[in-house]
Amino acid sequence: MSTWSRNSALSASALLLLVGGIALAFYWAPEDADQGFSQKIFYIHVPVALTAYAFFAWGAWKALRHLWTRGERYDLESYTAIHMGVIFGLLTLATGSIWAKISWGIWWSWGQRQLVLFLILFLFYCAYFMLRFSTDVGPARANLSAVYAVFGIVLLPVSFLAIRLAEGFLHPVLFERDGPQMTGEMFVAFCVCLAGVLALAAALYANELTGKRIDARLRELREALA
């Protein structure tokens, strides 16, 4: 399958799944008995947050592959994954903040460990770009970026588990050991939305990676022609 066909198929799947998922969430899934209509943010906030975690983990995995094999492609893949993770992290903070305003009456709470830990994770990966662009292009930059990205993996379980382990939390926990704490319709709508956001993420990642590869090849070509 060519890059264009794969990227187009991913974009089309993302559009279909997202439109279907949002329609299910708004017109089929019942309103939450406790939170009412405001709970509908859940169908976008949680998939976006899980996608951000997935991108950071993918970026760390590719960084590890780079350190292991020294393959240049892994450096670019790790960088692209972290780039996408930061975009989805920003969306997680924005949608979470809006949900917090309706549910708790505040935009942000510094007392909530899980929120602060996610912000730390987000800022940690924002700093990745400062590190990357303060070093000249070459193997040293790739190695330094990879080591930084691998270190970030430590923050992922801490941030993810903080939602479950925090004491006296406001942040709800919907997935427990005995299954999801929601109706079957809500869970189906959530799964379709999650599939849609993951397909969108995959489409954005594939397009961004193609762009970055072309950029890198143009740089090589410019150097060869100079």
Binding site: I22, G36, F37, S38, K40, I41, I44, H45, V48, I87, L90, L91, A94, T95, I98, W99, K101, I102, L200, L204, N207, E208, G211, I214, D215, L218, L221, R222, L225
Partner: protein
Amino acid sequence: MSTAEKYVTAAYLVVLAVVLTYVVVYSTKLARLERELAELAEQARARDDG
């Protein structure tokens, strides 16, 4: 429109706005790549002629 409906709409619009902004930024990048490619093709042609 109730307050909850306004906030929920805002949350979904934020996601849409960020994705659209990304598409605009990416289009600008594609335009730059196309321009650079044209310049390099021109350089290569000039090199062949020279």
